[in-house]
Symmetry: C2
Subunit: 364 residues, 2 copies
DNA sequence: CTGTTAGCGCTTTCAT
DNA sequence: ATGAAAGCGCTAACAG
């Protein structure tokens, strides 16, 4: 047993020079030597244990512990062209809505041994292109990205990568591959319909200045304009205020202050996120305005953030954690499918308007 | 030019079979062929452009665009044993405090071309050990992890990895390598001192049931006990309520309700996070208790979350984004240092008690 | 400044 | 059930 059969077992450096190897880490062949088997057998014992006899498996197990072996998945990924990594690209993780998505995807994928490579794209298309390139160079097995508006370069890069791509958090007529999202325009329209139905007439909008908020605002405004044309006498009005991104409580306060200045008789403020909504409510409260009696406020996102604090808040319920889970499970389905062909599949998760009685029946 | 000098340029599969290669992606040698240079020259043109003549650089640039080449960093990492990835391990990203850390580290590292491999460890030591192993198998160039209480297995694994390790968000006498954090025990004690100094006597604690919150509570209680012994007549009391993790507004409300039930004459509630603090304040408000006149509330974390809404809230300021930035810059310093030896370095970023006059002078 | 060669540590394939 | 050989796509080291 003096000499192992592995030609590199004496750990020479590259080119046979006799300085120590760069990493110094335990290799598969070291474990193999310790267990008295071939490297390939160790690989199998670790990755496809059912193909190895129980006796060998145990010996390998022991050798792994003895040597403190940590597999090198970089090498594994190169050899097998499967990295067991999924890239997740979101504008930011400092917003609860995307943090929930990332958390949920990470948790769900971990169950199947996949890891998340995080990419934060900011809110600029140009930045996104750079992040996509960097991330693709890691050869992830799939990529999830928020939004459906990408540069043509980004789209072609993603298609050329020939891996599952899931766009989330928005809707599109022409997804790159898969899509799990909803129409922000439709949400905006639905909110307008809803509030008009409730009897409100004078609206403010406190929206973050990002593309998806713009779409919701457009949907809202379009619906409002239609109502104005149909019922010119009703006095329907809307004023919009764009808050800086990232959205903050302070931004919400400022937006509310500005809206109430411009439109003191404002009855309802529609907000681009729960964060903005809370800022708006803080401002209203500081002015002694009763919510929802004097001013109704509508948020956007999952209720969990705000509901406990502000029972008067109504919101469009979009649960990031749920979207994340759906996305991850969908991907795992792709990975496990007999055919690894990309599936073209549009899935609208819909949305739900959560309205507390206290708020939205107030004026009836 | 009919035949390239690259022996694999005709893209045979492994072992010379003639099915197409697994990935089908453009390789360095494809770019080299298109540019009429050697693969190595392309590599240099991309990674060390200063070593290549301008003419060659331009030809390579053109060939890269022409072929749509996306470097394979998996192969690069294997060959060079530098992955340009930093693993970041936090309990969760669904808490603003850790989300800020991750956001900030990601942003800062991106400036130097590093990417973040995200690991979410939950709050259990056992889970952490598994995540550490998985993450190390990707051979990150460094690892950042929240907390200083790890299993012995985790510690030895991390030491054996021979990469920079930064523990953050806590203090330790025996860090694995580097540490950027603060003592939770000391924070708890400082808060107690502060509130006693302000004249408060009957305290509630609404803490999340995680190790670091426990340490703060211990620091707080120790300080309180000392005061009780020194001034038995003063009527100093404290009751603690442990909220479920992850901390939520609802959990904060429930904790406050329970505390106020047990100790109706409670004067100040110390909270384990801003989230809990906001829940506590919601409950107080719903009971018509004036803050801070009737009940003072202290949070923990960065003010940015809550300050705009609750000017009456006081808090221990721990800015996750700042810690993240510090950590990333510290790491980049290590990477660029002439000596890549691990630096043993304890850095206490300290903390700051932000106290709004309105709250903490209320009883004076 | 550019090219050649020999691996990085693993998995695929084929052979036993 | 186990092993041997070849190669994944890139970069370090040396040679020119």
């Amino acid at each position: 047993m003096g000499r192992s059969s592995d030609s590199r077992s004496e750990r020479p450096g590259q080119h046979g020079r006799d300085n120590p190897r760069a990493t110094g880490a335990v290799r598969l062949s070291d474990v193999a030597a310790a267990a008295g088997v071939a490297a390939m057998t160790v690989s199998r014992a670790l990755n496809q244990p059912e193909l190895v006899s129980e006796r060998t498996r145990e010996r390998v197990q022991r050798a792994v512990i003895e040597t403190g072996y940590v597999p090198n998945r970089v090498a594994g990924a190169l050899a097998s062209s499967r990295s067991k990594m999924v890239a997740v690209l979101v504008p930011t993780v400092a917003h609860s809505i995307f943090a929930d998505v990332v958390q949920s995807i990470t948790d769900t994928l971990a169950l199947d041994g996949y890891q998340v490579l995080l990419g934060l794209t900011g809110y600029q298309t140009q930045e996104e292109a750079a992040v996509v390139d960097t991330v693709l160079s890691r050869r992830p097995d799939a990529i999830v990205l928020a939004g459906t508006r990408h540069s043509e370069a980004t789209r072609s890069r993603l298609k050329a990568a020939r891996i599952p791509v899931v766009e989330i958090w928005d809707m599109s007529d022409d997804p790159i591959d898969m899509l799990i999202g909803f129409s922000h325009h439709a949400v905006g329209a639905a909110v307008a319909d809803y509030l008009l139905e409730c009897g409100y007439r004078r609206f403010g909008q406190a929206m973050a200045d990002d593309p998806r908020s713009h779409q919701r605002a457009e949907g809202f405004n379009k619906c409002i304009r239609k109502a104005q044309e149909e019922r010119p006498e009703s006095g329907i009005q809307v004023t919009t205020c764009w808050a800086d991104i990232p959205a903050s409580l302070a931004g919400g306060r400022a937006a509310a202050a500005s809206l109430l200045e411009e439109m003191p008789e404002c009855e309802a403020i529609v907000c681009g996120s729960d964060t903005l909504a809370m800022g708006v409510m803080a401002e209203a409260q500081s002015r002694g305005m009763a919510i929802p009696e004097t001013l109704a406020v509508m948020g956007f996102g999952d209720m969990s953030f705000a509901a406990a604090t502000w029972p008067a808040l109504s919101t469009v319920k979009i649960d990031g954690a749920e979207i994340g889970r759906l996305t991850a499970e969908h991907l795992l389905g792709c990975f496990n499918a007999p055919s690894p062909e990309p599936v073209h599949n549009v899935l609208d998760v819909g949305f739900e308007i959560m309205a507390r009685q206290t708020t939205l029946t107030a004026r009836n």
